[in-house]
Amino acid sequence: MSSRLRTAVYGVAGVVVLLVIAQIIGTTGLLGPTWPPITEVAAFLFDPSNHRLLGNALAATVSEAALGGLIGIVAGIGFALIAALLPLLAPGLDRFAALIDAVPAIALAPFLILVFGREGTPVIIVALSVTFIIYISTSSGLDSAGRPYRDLFSVLGARRAVRLGRVDVPAALPKLFDGLTLAAPAMILGATIGEWFGARRGLGVLFVSAMQNYRIELLWSAAVLAVLCSLIVYGAALLAQRAVVRRFA
């Protein structure tokens, strides 16, 4: 318990040190006028007259991230199960996933906008990156049960689908949730980047317009919200992952 407390104290101390340094840079103007004091950013965030603007943007980004994340999780798990049940397809799916992940979202953007529209593009970018992460983590999880369990199920006379349901899937859960902790920040990031390509609402839109209109506090506030969102989703995924590891590993 005391070592846990110490870790927490170190963590908080680290954040405080960073905030103080950022504040000093902002007040002294060390890095120019685009680095405001953190207190000004906080004041902007807490000013009720800005809440509608920030709230709408946040809601748009979070809903895109959630929808894209859901699609990505379902697709990633689905493809991994297909690869496990039909080993013939596994190498093809592996390469296709790697190819999709290797193509930068920026390069795909014009194509995505044409097919899915400006509002659909953030969702698709999130879904693509989450699908890849979940596909890889689930595939390696489904493969992790080990030979003793395989031998056991073959002497029990189990069909492939029975082994998948009774051993491979439960054994895959810790790695699947590892994948979720990786996917969580990628959801917010993907949605924000997707919004750069001309969405009407969202934190990404705020980034673009705040930069173009030189509204430094707005830019920083949007960034703080994006980071907080990522951290919250990551934290939730991490808690879930720990619970799953306790139960299944």
């Binding site: 003793p148 056991l152 002497v155 029990l156 006379g157 189990a158 139960r247 299944f248």
Partner: protein, 272 residues
């Protein structure tokens, strides 16, 4: 416990199958790089009668586990034939008539003891006979630990759960691959005695693979001594000792005479 006995004796004849194991001229070679190969087993002829307990004894690496894996249908012999109850090992496992306890207990960590022991019913798609599971848990001495997870059990308890799982569908054939190999000597001997007691009730055709001479002599009707590289059968010893579950047995001179002789064979094997 008597109903466990009844169930075994009722189920076995109703399948109408004979339950002996026969290996004829079994050899196993594994290919290596550049066309070379290594012979793990050569010319294994072995018959195990219905209701007989045979122990396969040999130094590590002599291929005795490979024999068991072939009988379990987990590996194919390179030449020769293997039949279990007149059919192939795969047919036996597909019919859910094979019970195996491995050296690694392979209990599913997310299931309780009871759920692990009922797993074969689920895999076979049969309704769970809760009364039978209950009796089996008592038979292996795990009463009170039904709802514990494997990680909260001792090594000996895990192996007992694993043996109960192997027995739960009243298999025609029981295969034990060094089930007590990872246990300390004292626990191992206690487990041997418990297995002898359980087996005396059920009398299932059993093949036990072990490198422990005492264990083999204590449990088996016949002990098959193997030599390594390639694995061959060197000697078959019929054991005719009374009251094998009796504590005094291990102190009797007859027991020690056999153990010493078989140990001697293993030692000359190693030297060769």
């Amino acid at each position: 416990m008597s109903s466990v006995l009844q169930q075994a004796s009722v189920t076995a004849p109703s399948t109408g199958s004979t339950r002996e194991i026969a290996l004829t001229g079994v050899a196993k070679t594994y290919p290596l790089k550049r066309g070379a190969s290594v012979t793990a087993l050569a010319g294994i002829d072995l018959e195990i009668a219905d209701g007989e307990f045979v122990a396969l004894l040999g130094p590590s690496g002599c291929g005795k586990s490979t024999v068991l894996r072939i009988v379990a249908g987990l590996e194919q012999p390179s030449t020769g034939t293997v039949s279990v109850g007149g059919a192939s090992p795969q047919a036996l496992s597909k019919a859910h008539r094979l019970g195996v306890a491995f050296q690694e207990h392979s209990l599913l960590p997310w299931l309780t003891v009871r759920q692990n022991i009922t797993l074969p019913y689920k895999v076979a798609g049969r309704p769970v006979d809760t009364a039978h599971v209950r009796e089996l848990i008592d038979l292996v001495g795990l009463g009170g630990f039904e709802d514990a997870r494997p990680k909260h059990l001792s090594g000996g308890m895990r192996q007992r759960a694993s043996i109960a799982r192997a027995l739960v569908l009243d298999p025609d054939v029981l295969l034990l691959d060094e089930p007590f190999g990872a246990l300390d000597a004292v626990t191992r001997r206690r487990m041997n005695k418990e297995l002898a007691r359980i087996w005396a009730e059920l009398r299932i055709t059993t093949l036990l693979v072990t490198h422990d001479v005492d264990e083999a002599v204590l449990l088996a009707d016949r002990v098959v001594v193997m030599t390594g590289r390639p694995g061959r059968i060197r000697h078959i010893e019929g054991i005719d000792l009374p009251l094998r579950e009796h504590t005094e047995l291990t102190r009797s001179p007859e027991f020690h005479e056999i153990v010493d002789r078989l140990t001697g064979m293993l030692e000359t094997t190693k030297a060769a």
